[in-house]
């Protein structure tokens, strides 16, 4: 007897494949950086890449590489190397994966003189991270992010220069504090902007070249345009049924987070927006039979990306927005003054969704619940990411109290598949959907 495969009810955007190809090309290019005689910076956290781009560097983003390995199910060799080195399995799995890469990279640097990290004996890792020339850390909200680079520095025998951008948390001490407003916001913006100026000086020392301010303005002009297109396209998804989902926005994270600011980036998001517009004209929805609109809170579970996309759709759930996708990645382009971009850049780093106290997060969540007509929230209790998990139970209560929006919690992790529990997922999602149904029945009576 054969078991019928359930119908795939998802209808992903085809234009995001272009982004996937651009990202793959970006990494292929990174792997040959040393052969091309380029300076390589390893960085974590905030999207400092436009500054690196203007400085003529090649940039490797730690979480991005860890996420990529996890999405391709190739994280294990790096995590095994990390674990052999002594990293305990409860430590941030991005950090563990990337530190594992650092251990392998360092081993390789010592073993070969080429400077290119082969891991040739570990083909499955499919990665050849070029050894760094120096590190830059700019992690908002999460202390782990900053300490992770402090350790990478040590894995590389404390020999390479490291620059830290200290990004203060938007905690909300003062009564006038709120999302992008108040004395705290202005003061923190100035503090971070000042450090970015120092970062530029540091890069000039490292590269031996004067910084190209025009190049920075130019790349930020593309990023600003790309960001506007992305936000316009997201806005179109307030329609029900939605023409694109959270999963499509996840597929667009890499381009907006670390690909070079150039015309290709703008064209990419123009393509995404055009496809969504066309879907609206044609009456095409992203999930067949959309019955529930759900918001996703938590960092992405990269190992389970396709799996979760199909899974939610099986239940007629359209995941339409999320904290990770909608509250980060150049999401306030009006802040960017192309002619003098550092302040607006620093402000975006401050606006990382891990960098707010609960009050701001509540404000943002309620806004999204209204904007996207959300019925329920999926809280990904991201096992090794405390920064994302910190406020979740309180956000859940606020959503229920303020808007009557139901939620459920499921376990998983950014880059460690072992923490995901499928049975719990099903039963908790079903319970939330039932609660939504009951609520709907009541309002109909």
């Amino acid at each position: 007897m054969s078991i019928a495969t359930p119908r795939d009810k998802t209808n992903r955007l085809s234009s995001t494949r272009v982004g996937g190809k651009m990202t793959a090309d970006y990494w292929d290019n990174i792997f040959t950086a040393k052969e091309r005689g380029k300076h390589v910076v390893w960085y974590n956290g905030s999207a400092l890449n436009p500054i690196f781009q203007a400085a003529g560097l090649e940039w490797c983003h730690g979480e991005a590489f860890a996420a990529r390995l996890a999405a391709q199910h190739l994280e294990e060799p790096a995590q095994a190397a990390g674990s052999e080195y002594g990293y305990i399995g409860e430590l941030c799995s991005y950090a563990r994966t990337h530190l594992g890469c650092a251990v392998l990279t360092q081993k390789n640097v010592n073993e070969r003189e080429s400077g290119v990290v082969g891991m040739l004996d570990q083909q499955e890792l499919a990665a050849k991270l070029p050894a760094p020339d120096f590190f830059v850390n700019g992690y908002a909200g999460c202390s782990t992010g900053q300490q992770w680079d402090a350790m990478t520095y040590r894995v590389f025998d404390r020999k390479l220069p490291i620059f830290n951008v200290s990004i203060p948390m938007l905690w909300g001490n003062k009564p006038d504090a709120g999302y992008m407003r108040g004395e705290e916001w202005n003061e923190a913006s100035t503090y971070v902007e000042g450090q970015l100026r120092e970062l530029v000086k540091f890069l000039e020392q490292q590269t031996g070249r004067p910084f190209d301010w025009d190049a920075l303005s130019e790349s930020m002009s593309y990023i600003k345009k790309a960001s506007r297109l992305r936000l316009d396209a997201m806005e179109l998804c307030t329609l029900a049924p939605t023409p694109a989902t959270y999963w499509d926005w996840v597929a667009s994270i890499a381009p907006i987070n670390f690909l070079p600011g150039n015309q290709a980036l703008v064209d990419y998001f123009a393509g995404v927006k055009a496809e969504i517009q066309q879907r609206i004209v044609d009456g095409v929805s992203a999930v067949a039979n959309e019955r529930y609109r759900v918001y996703f809170d938590g960092i992405m579970n990269w190992n389970k990306l396709g799996f979760l996309t199909r899974k939610f759709a099986e239940y007629d759930v359209a995941v339409v927005a999320g904290r990770y996708t909608h509250e980060s990645f150049w999401q306030e382009p009006q802040l960017i003054d192309v002619d003098n971009p550092l302040r607006g850049m620093g402000q975006h780093y401050l606006l990382c969704p891990l960098n707010h106290g609960l009050k701001n997060l509540q404000e943002l969540l309620l806004k999204r619940l209204d904007q996207y007509s959300i019925d329920g929230i999926a809280f990904h209790s991201t096992r090794t990411c405390r920064a994302m998990t910190n406020p979740q139970s309180m956000l859940a209560k606020a959503a229920e109290r303020e808007r009557g929006v139901k939620s459920f919690v499921f376990e998983g992790d950014v880059a460690d598949a072992s923490f995901y529990n499928d049975e719990l997922f099903d039963s908790r999602l079903e319970a939330m959907l039932e609660a939504i149904d009951v609520q709907r029945m009541k309002t109909m009576v």
Binding site: R158, N164, S166, W171, N173, G357, L358, T389, P391, S393
Partner: protein, 390 residues
Amino acid sequence: MSELHAPSLATLRTAADDPVSYAQNWKDTHRRPVIGSFPMNFPSEIVHAAGALPVIVQESKTPITEGRSMLAEFYCGYTRSVADQAALGELDVFDGFVAADHCVQLLGAVDAIRYVRPEKPVHFAQFTSAMDDAWTKPRVDSRIGDLKTEIETVVGTAVTAEDLARSIGLFNANRRLLRRFYDLRRSGLIRITAGEMQLLVKSSMVMDIEEHTSVLETLLDRLVLRDQAPDDLVRLHLSGHFCHAPKPEILDVIEESGGLVVDDDLYTGYRYISTDVPESDDPLKALSTWYMQRNINAPCPTRVTSKVDWDTYLLNSLAESRSVGVVVLMAKFCEPHMLYYPELRKALEEHDVPSLLIETEHEGIPVETLRTKMETFIERIRRHSAPVPA
């Protein structure tokens, strides 16, 4: 049988075991506010100078109930306990809360306090944690300035430079006395168990500093020194355990297995009292100097710097205290510690120093399993090298 003066120890134990009751009594007697703060870099001197009682909030012994719905199970025991105590109203004695450290789990717990007790002032003076930059000290100066203003508002008293200088003097004197106990313990001329040392330090985090100092003085007066240090015990260094005190039963097992703890870098230990505040500078600026200097004297893995290393510091301490083994106490889920641990392990292995990692949990750990592990560890050290004679 303890070699320390029992009635004095009992006074310290009462406060350390139940800081909230101590705070309530103090408040009733003095009719002054009580301010709760958090590990590991808070300058209590400012609160004291404002005439309030500074108390570093401690992990509670009770199992976590209400707090379970606030922070996930994969948070360190300290933060879950803090959220739990707040949710149960056990921290209501405090008139306000102040934090200076940025550990992401700690911030989660402090945000949970704001959520369950919205009427309480909760101030966060984020001390820049990257220690090598030219802008770190000025920034910390300004955070300390804000902190002072906030404390003045909550307490209702303006703090003068003289008040602050006096408080700094009192805290320095207390730290000096505590370091004296450390010296004596290292010398082997008095046996101070790890549990007792913890009591001395922990009580200083929660008690009125002058009262605490006077108890320490009594303890010192009553000390009877030995002629010679015992030479049959394995000298150990306890390393790690941030933010909260490891359970005394764990410390007891370590010593019952034939180890003599002669030094530590625990937060509820030497880390807390490693550094005095300079008394010559402008007292507010002196507090940020203290913050910077502290990380040099006892490098802290929640800070980032390339100037000093915890592993180098640990190896130096071992040489000074002539410890022959290290017991690493790690609070489960403590990320800064998990991140740094491999560096320590590597350094110890390179120097052929035996070490044992013990992960601790709020709910406790099976003592008999620990005992077996410890005995094997001590045995390994005895075989590995004859204990260094004291």
